[in-house]
């Protein structure tokens, strides 16, 4: 019994971590007023870069950092389009979702002799309690270090957004950029930084998939997690704690299906697999209600416009 409880917690945390990184990225970008629909593409780039750098350098953390940089760079494209060029952020985000996997698979084929999968890394991200010496029920709780990192990021981002001056600046830019501008806040600079930060976090999310959960990049390594992270942002009402909680909920629902699937239930596995998504919709109907995005989210800011 104890071991199934710890297994449940372990799977929950494992599944929710890549989502949590990406969702936190989504929160910071949306809070500054830029809708980031391109999380999926940024995660894919991160997943590929992480696994590839991790393989060639032999360093998991090196790969992890590189993934963040790669995610940030592709986010720069989104930032340039949506802030400087005042482009439609939805369109730009969808473009990133098309470009991201395209670039990742293109480079993968070039670097790995035409294969769409990278060679597995030798050093994965370490486990929380090391790799040896833990048995029994606690073994299920020996999660990847990235799990803890995601939680730390969530707490830090919450503190940053709600307890610091810069956080207030970010939120004001997302709610009423013209007012923020009048106060002497540089709207463009803050939005650029937030979108890049969002790309870095999405990159981390991708890498936490391909460096910790599975040891390599595959075309399906990131298949929809970016969209679920996006959903988690909305579900969590655009707050770091809410989005993190939403990711944990997705993870828990996913873990539930794994545990139920192993039991003696006479339910087809495909029906079980639907469970997380059905639960989400039911929770939305029952508890969440009308979603309220940051007021200026999705609207480009033009200095001096009325």
């Amino acid at each position: 019994m104890l071991s199934s409880i710890t297994l449940f917690i372990g799977i929950t945390l494992m599944y929710s971590t890549p989502l949590a990184f990406a969702a936190l990225g989504g929160v910071i970008s949306e809070r500054s007023g830029v809708t980031n629909l391109g999380i999926e593409g940024m995660m894919t780039i991160g997943a590929f870069t992480g696994a590839t750098v991790g393989y060639f350098t032999g360093s998991a953390w090196g790969g992890f950092l590189a993934a963040g940089i790669a995610g940030g760079m592709i986010a720069l494209l989104h930032a340039f389009a949506s802030i400087t060029c005042r482009a439609d952020q939805t369109i730009s985000g969808i473009a990133i979702n098309l470009i991201g996997p395209g670039v990742a698979l293109f480079l993968c084929r070039l670097l790995f002799d035409g294969a769409t999968m990278s060679v597995p890394v030798t050093n994965k991200i370490p486990k929380l309690f090391g790799s040896a010496g833990i048995t029994g029920a606690l073994k299920n709780l020996n999660v990847d270090v990235t799990v803890v990192l995601a939680l730390v990021f969530a707490v830090v981002l919450w503190g940053f957004l709600y307890k610091t001056k810069w956080g207030l600046h970010i939120r004001s830019v997302g709610e009423h950029p013209a007012a923020a501008d009048t106060m002497g806040i540089n709207v463009y600079k803050i939005r650029y930084l937030c979108v890049i930060a969002s790309g870095i976090l999405a990159g981390f999310g991708g890498a936490s998939m391909t460096l910790a959960i599975i040891p390599q990049f595959t075309p399906t390594a990131i298949s929809g997690q970016g969209f679920i992270a996006l959903a988690a942002v909305i579900f969590g009402k655009w707050t770091p704690h809410g989005a993190y909680g939403a990711c944990i909920l997705f993870g828990a629902a996913q873990a539930l299906t794994v545990i139920l699937g192993g039991g003696s239930f006479q339910v087809p596995s495909e029906i079980l697999a639907m469970l997380p998504y059905i639960i989400t919709i039911i929770i939305l109907i029952l508890f969440v209600g009308r979603s309220a995005a940051p007021k200026a989210s999705g609207q480009p800011y033009e200095k001096g416009a009325r």
Partner: protein, 375 residues
């Protein structure tokens, strides 16, 4: 000067510029990666235009993209972002496959029945999203993403039911032949049909060697119908008014929630129709177990955006998209360049479509000789 400015400001010109930029960026990427860009381009173009057979293959590949693109564009006009097109397409496939297997009527009844099944499934799935938004105010992107996954697993469940699963494959049985929508599908397998088609090179290539289906014709008709509905009817005006400014629409007495629901039902229905034509017109005429999304719906978002969410524009954008996807295969085969370069081309085109909004103000400033002008 004024004339060039006027031309540059046309949406059509801007789309062309975006497409050229897409090819330019892809050419740069290819040459950095060590592939000859101009040769690659000519291989790509040859792969599409070197014969009627290839052109009809492009049309076949484009048809679901065009139809789904029209569906997405319809929702866009009402201010709704139908990212759930993927799920509506999958549900349409499931419904038309199951109905096509279970029922076996003469083609006159069977084809409308199977098409209707797809439309209804898509419409119900799209309508659910609209209902949840209208009734509970839940963001349509959020519910659409969830419904996409539910559709994926539902499709896999149906696919593995004993009633439908074809042993030793990953898919279902094909739908009954009476539901096929290929043009001259049955006749061309008969002896006189073969002889008649073989007599002409053109007919041999376009109809005998490939499975041209009625979906493309339906797509053209639908594009015109949808444009008519949106721009020439009161209902269309209401839908567009809700999209342009829901508060203003509400003030004039338009029922916003009802229009959101209607828009999603129609949008989903069109996606379902796309699926029904896909199932009845393309082998293997059934669904297969999905490991991940096949991206018809997500690509349709790209089609719709390149088309500037114009239903008629979707025909051309879909053909471009389908042509690139089809030509990309020969690119990989002949030049050795990874076919994913095509996804980069399409992504860059969409990216530049987003950027083209800055061209009109730029042109404005340019044509006024750089002088600052009061607003």
């Amino acid at each position: 000067m004024d004339k060039t400015a006027k031309i540059l400001k046309k949406p059509f010109t801007m789309t062309i510029i975006a497409i050229l930029c897409g090819f330019l960026v892809a050419g740069i990427i290819l040459s950095i990666a060590g592939y000859p860009p101009f040769h690659s381009l000519s291989v790509l173009i040859q792969g599409v235009f070197s014969g009627p057979k290839h052109i009809s293959n492009v049309i076949i590949k484009s048809t679901p993209l065009i139809l789904t693109g029209i569906g997405v564009a319809f929702a866009f006009k009402t201010g709704l972002f139908n990212i759930g097109a993927e799920g509506q397409f999958i549900m349409g496939c499931v419904a038309s496959t199951t109905v096509g297997i279970v029922c076996d009527f003469p083609a006159v009844i069977q084809i409308p029945l199977v098409l209707a099944a797809g439309v209804i499934a898509g419409a119900v799935f799209g309508g659910l999203v609209g209902f949840l938004k209208a009734r509970f105010g839940i963001h349509e992107v959020l519910t659409s993403i969830m419904f996409n996954w539910i559709a994926l697993y539902f499709s896999n469940w149906i696919c593995n039911l004993e009633r439908f699963h074809k042993p030793d494959t990953i898919g279902t049985y094909p739908v009954n032949e009476s539901s096929y929508t290929m043009i001259l599908g049955k006749w061309k397998t008969t002896k006189e049909g073969k002889e008649a088609l073989l007599s002409s090179d053109f007919l041999k290539d376009t109809i005998l060697k490939t499975d041209v289906n009625a979906g493309f014709i339906a797509a053209i008709i639908l594009a015109v119908l949808v444009s008519f509905l949106l721009y020439k009817t009161t209902k269309g005006f209401e839908l567009r008014a809700v999209g342009a400014n829901r508060y203003a629409a509400e003030f004039t007495g338009i029922n916003v929630n009802r229009n959101i629901l209607h828009s999603m039902v129609i949008s989903g229905g069109i996606c379902g129709l796309a699926a029904a034509f896909y199932i009845t017109g393309n082998s293997p005429h059934g669904i297969a177990t999905l490991a991940a999304f096949e991206n018809t719906g997500f690509n349709a978002l790209g089609v719709c955006l390149i088309a500037g969410s114009s239903p008629v524009g979707c025909i051309f954008a879909g053909l471009l998209f389908g042509g690139l996807l089809y030509g990309g295969q020969s690119l990989q085969y002949e030049v050795g360049a990874p076919s994913e370069i095509i996804n980069i081309v399409i992504g860059v085109i969409v990216f530049f479509v987003a950027l083209t909004h800055i061209i009109p103000p730029l042109v404005e400033r340019f044509s006024k000789g750089g002088k600052k002008h009061a607003k």
